[in-house]
Amino acid sequence: MLWSIVVSVIAFGWLFHHSFWFRSEDGKELSNVDGLAIGVFPLHNDDMRLEVTWTILPFILIIWLTYVSWAPIDNMWAPLDDDEYHGSECDYASAAYTGSNNVMDSKGMVTSDCYHLIEITGQQWFWSFDCLELDESLCYTATDTLEVYGSVPVLGLKKGETYLALMESEDVTHAPWFLDLFTKEDVLQGQQTLLWLPITDSGDSMILCAEYCGDAHSVMSGVLAVHN
């Protein structure tokens, strides 16, 4: 964001300065510095050092941008059973089990001790949520009637826990967009996809379908209800 402002200030400042500073004046003979004439390839107008500069500088900038977005990408697509972010599936029988204990760092990345498995199935045109073997306090499903969307499925999750959704589609491609979790992933027929759902805030929010799936695509919705 900061860098986009910097780049645009440079580019637009330059644009306005040059477009007004170097404008032609009425009635004045136009200069012809590069020997423009019909049928003649004009003089080269270049400066190797300048051109190399604005090749190298953006290059360094984007390498740096790639580097800084590396950690968030790893966090959002964390591999399974990798100790760095979400540990392994919670062992509910273990005496040491105290939940996921999500911790969010200053960049918004969430790490947790262990995760819970849930299942999401997409179908024309509704979502089905399944808590698998999770306890009622960790995960519940329900239906709710919203004034505008009608009857929608509710996925109830607990604040401070991390869930891994195993997702598949019954028919065409869908994608649940968890608006308040800022994340989505396609669900495909015949191929399982995974989506991390680290929950850090309580409250209700919408789940929409973000991959076009036909007629009732726009009302294929759900509610994520996060409780304490």
Partner: protein, 780 residues
């Protein structure tokens, strides 16, 4: 003791009968869940019974505002007989006004729906009150009745033998309101009106060319010449007219979409119609508007710029064009059968081959296969022409930048479009003869289409933007009275974009379940696109340095292009950053981004090109005043149209949703309440932006009749197209005496080196060629 077994059974049966009568009532909304409207109450058989007749009594033909009317709903016939425990039930839906119940025999579900109660199911007639609306409405009533075979024996569920029926009525207020027309009818009418206006304009232009001979004898050869011409200039004009026509059609569809989205929860279009509108809007704008406009410029300008008499393969060129209008007809065929393609222009599998996709999708795929053929032929033609027909003295590194841009665009198109063609043919076969490329249950691959499509799709968007780069390079250099800054780095940057375009497409599939490693690679390569694009922007800016910028309409559009394209480029940099993309993917942020680069980039570039080359093509100058008005109106409304979409996308507005809901105190929606105001602003700006294009069309028509005559080189450019007269003769350069061409131009070079010295690119091309003689020179 409690109840006896028998009476308990009777109560259960009674409840069951009541439940089965209420259940169909809840489904009898005329506009509800798909299928119910036609099948009605399918619990007692799927068809309306002829032996039951339902009636709505007490309705006025014309209602008075806010007056309350007592309505009698009743039925006769069916199995219901006097003496039955239960006689029947009803459900009444009304589109406007409000309903109220009079007694305990009926109940109110909401102000539009009433039904009977358990107390009311032993009668065949009920009375309810309807209060008319306060304004003029066309009010519809839909009544469902159920004639109960009320023997209540409990066997077979107690509802056996029930028969149902339906009655509809519609009344109006003191002033009759016209029914809303079907949007497709409106669209067709608008297209037909545009076509009629277009043909009137064409006849008028024909009339003006020679008012004395305005008759069929001269008209027939004139029109036949246009239809059969292989002249690159005429085909270029045909492409441009087609492109502008479909720009209008696509624009009308965009306006339908914007009317629908102007307010939350709008029902101007049904979701089904909306899906077809956005699909056809995308397909039309990319394939039938942007590509033909680019081909129009390429046809007109490339042979002129390289000093060639025509394209290398003129008949192939005519064929490429004439495939297009027929492909367009195929693409639109579906809407005449009530089911145009509804897959999105991306046509993701497996939806595109599923049963739920409309029948029109098959023809939509067929039409695009024809467009693939057309583009392939065009590609061959331009690559050949540019490679072998350059004027003497024009090396590869002497070509004007617009010609370079067309060359690179066609290389990209030529290498990428076969993938799309293959995908479309697979889809077509899947839909027509039942192959299983995308039938997942038969072992098809859900991601194959996405890979094929985006392998083509991403180069394709560069195919439509790179020619705009070419136009802007020409316009900026000419307007600033300089040669373009860093000609060589401009060429390498365009070539770089062309190469990188093939390895970035994975960013369209960040959320697709593709391998994370591959996704990481495409994140890096996508970021890399910024480097050559940045070089080009900085070079354009530097071109102005030390020059004297002449402000013409095309200069304004070029400066506007740089501004909006930079914004589009910067917003594009948010997507490769995956953490953001997972939120923004498929949101309005994406819509904002690609409209900023495709409208603010391609369309602005091409409009600049129209103002720049129109005098050359027609020999008439365009009116500068109208041009500046067009720019100011267009530029302001354009930004008001697309800039707010960034914000809507971040809030969570999803693309391809036929409506959206805002969160209010009563109901939860997906967007904050401010979103409604922003959407209204976008819709209004959309209409203004579309209106601004009528200024351009008017300008073109007025100027081609009344404009000043254009000199050969009105702007002071250096390349060959400014050497010929305006409009250019046919053939554009030289003459053919039956054996060889003579009088072709020769390019001089103001730079201090031999004009024919091969450049770096030429030396590389020579290495790839088979040597003419077996000399030892080639090996090192």
């Amino acid at each position: 003791m409690g109840m006896s077994k028998r009476s308990r059974l009777a109560v259960v049966t009674l409840l069951f009968v009541a439940a089965t009568m209420v259940a169909p009532a809840a489904q009898s909304l005329p506009t509800g869940i798909a299928g119910v409207k036609d099948s009605g109450c399918n619990c007692h058989g799927a068809v309306v019974s002829e032996s039951v007749s339902a009636s709505i009594g007490g309705l006025p033909e014309i209602y008075n505002y806010s007056e309350a009317y007592e309505i009698v709903v009743s039925f006769e016939g069916g199995p219901s007989e006097t003496g039955n425990i239960n006689q029947g039930g009803f459900h009444l839906w009304v589109s406007d006004g409000s309903l109220a119940v009079n007694d305990a025999t009926s109940q109110l579900f909401n102000q539009n729906e009433v039904g009977h109660t358990e107390a009311g199911n032993d009668q065949t007639s009920w009375v309810v009150t309807w209060t008319a609306p306060e304004t003029d409405k066309n009010v519809e009533f839909v009544l469902h009745v159920n004639s109960v075979n009320g023997d209540a024996d409990g066997n077979g569920g107690g509802s056996t033998g029930d028969l149902w029926s339906k009655a509809v009525a519609s009344i109006s207020g003191p002033v009759v309101v016209l029914d809303a027309a079907d949007p497709f009818v409106v669209l067709t009418v608008l297209i037909m009106v545009s076509a009629v206006l277009l043909s009137i304009t064409l006849s008028y232009i024909f009339y003006r060319t020679n008012p004395d001979s305005f008759d069929w004898e001269t008209f027939a050869p004139w029109i036949a010449d246009w239809l059969t011409s292989t002249d690159h200039k005429k085909i270029g004009t045909l492409y441009t007219v087609q492109g502008l026509f479909f720009l209008g059609v696509g624009g009308i569809m965009a306006m339908f979409i914007r009317i629908q989205l102007a307010v939350p929860g709008n029902d101007f279009l049904t979701q089904d119609q909306y899906n077809q509108f956005f699909t056809l809007h995308g397909t039309t704008m990319i394939f039938l508007a942007a590509m033909p406009l680019i081909n129009g410029f390429a046809n007109w300008i490339v042979p002129l710029q390289i000093g060639a008499p025509d394209l290398a393969l003129p008949r192939i060129n005519a064929m490429s064009f004439w495939l297009q209008p027929f492909a367009a007809i195929l693409i639109f065929t579906g809407i005449f059968s009530g089911g145009g393609a509804d897959t999105g222009w991306t046509g993701y599998a497996p939806y595109v081959v599923s049963q739920t996709a409309h029948v029109g999708t098959t023809m939509w795929a067929a039409g695009q296969i024809m467009l693939v053929a057309s583009s392939t032929l065009t590609g061959i033609n331009f690559l050949t022409t540019i490679a072998v027909m350059r004027a003497e003295g024009m090396g590869w590194m002497h070509m004007p930048l617009f010609t370079w841009s067309i060359f690179i665009a066609n290389v990209m198109l030529f290498l990428s479009i076969p993938a799309f063609g293959i995908g479309l043919i697979q889809v077509f076969l899947d839909r027509v003869i039942g192959t299983a490329f995308y039938d997942i249950s038969a072992g098809g691959d859900p991601l194959l289409w996405s890979h094929l499509f985006w392998y083509f799709g991403h180069p394709e968007v560069y195919v439509v933007i790179v020619p705009a780069f070419g136009v802007i390079s020409e316009v900026m250099a000419t307007s600033a009275r300089r040669s373009v800054f860093g000609y060589r780095s401009m060429v390498y940057a365009m070539a770089g974009i062309g190469i990188v375009s093939f390895i970035v497409y994975g960013h369209h599939m960040f959320t697709s379940g593709m391998s994370p490693t591959l996704r990481f690679v495409t994140m890096l390569t996508t970021m890399l696109v910024a480097v050559p694009t940045g070089i080009k922007i900085f070079n354009w800016l530097m071109t102005m340095n030390g020059g004297s910028l002449v402000y013409r309409t095309h200069t304004l559009w070029a400066l506007g292009f740089i501004l909006t394209f930079t914004i589009g480029g910067i917003s594009g940099m948010f997507f490769p950053s995956v953490a953001m993309d997972l939120h923004l993917h498929e949101s309005y942020f994406v819509i904002a981004h690609f409209h900023y680069v495709l409208v603010g980039g391609t369309v602005f570039g091409l409009v600049s090109g129209i103002y720049y080359w129109f005098p050359k093509a027609t020999g008439k100058m365009l009116d500068e005043k109208l041009g500046v008005i067009h720019f100011l109106v267009g530029f302001v409304s354009y930004n008001a149209l697309f800039w707010p979409m960034h914000r809507l996308g971040v809030w969570g507005m999803t693309r391809r949703h036929h409506t959206y809901f805002i969160t209010t105190e009563e109901a939860m929606g997906s967007l904050p309440a401010e979103a409604a105001g922003w959407n209204m602003l976008i819709t209004v700006s959309g209409f203004v932006f579309m209106g601004s294009f009528f200024i351009l069309v008017a300008n073109m028509i007025i100027s081609s009749i009344r404009g000043e005559d254009a000199p050969a080189d009105p702007w002071g450019g250096w390349s060959f197209e400014w050497m010929t007269s305006s409009p250019p003769p046919t053939p554009s350069f030289g003459h053919f005496d039956g054996e060889k061409w003579s009088g072709l131009p020769r390019l001089k070079d103001a730079n201090d080196h031999l004009a024919n010295e091969p450049g770096v690119v030429s030396r590389w091309f020579k290495r790839l060629m088979v040597p003419d003689e077996d000399s030892g020179e080639v090996s090192h």
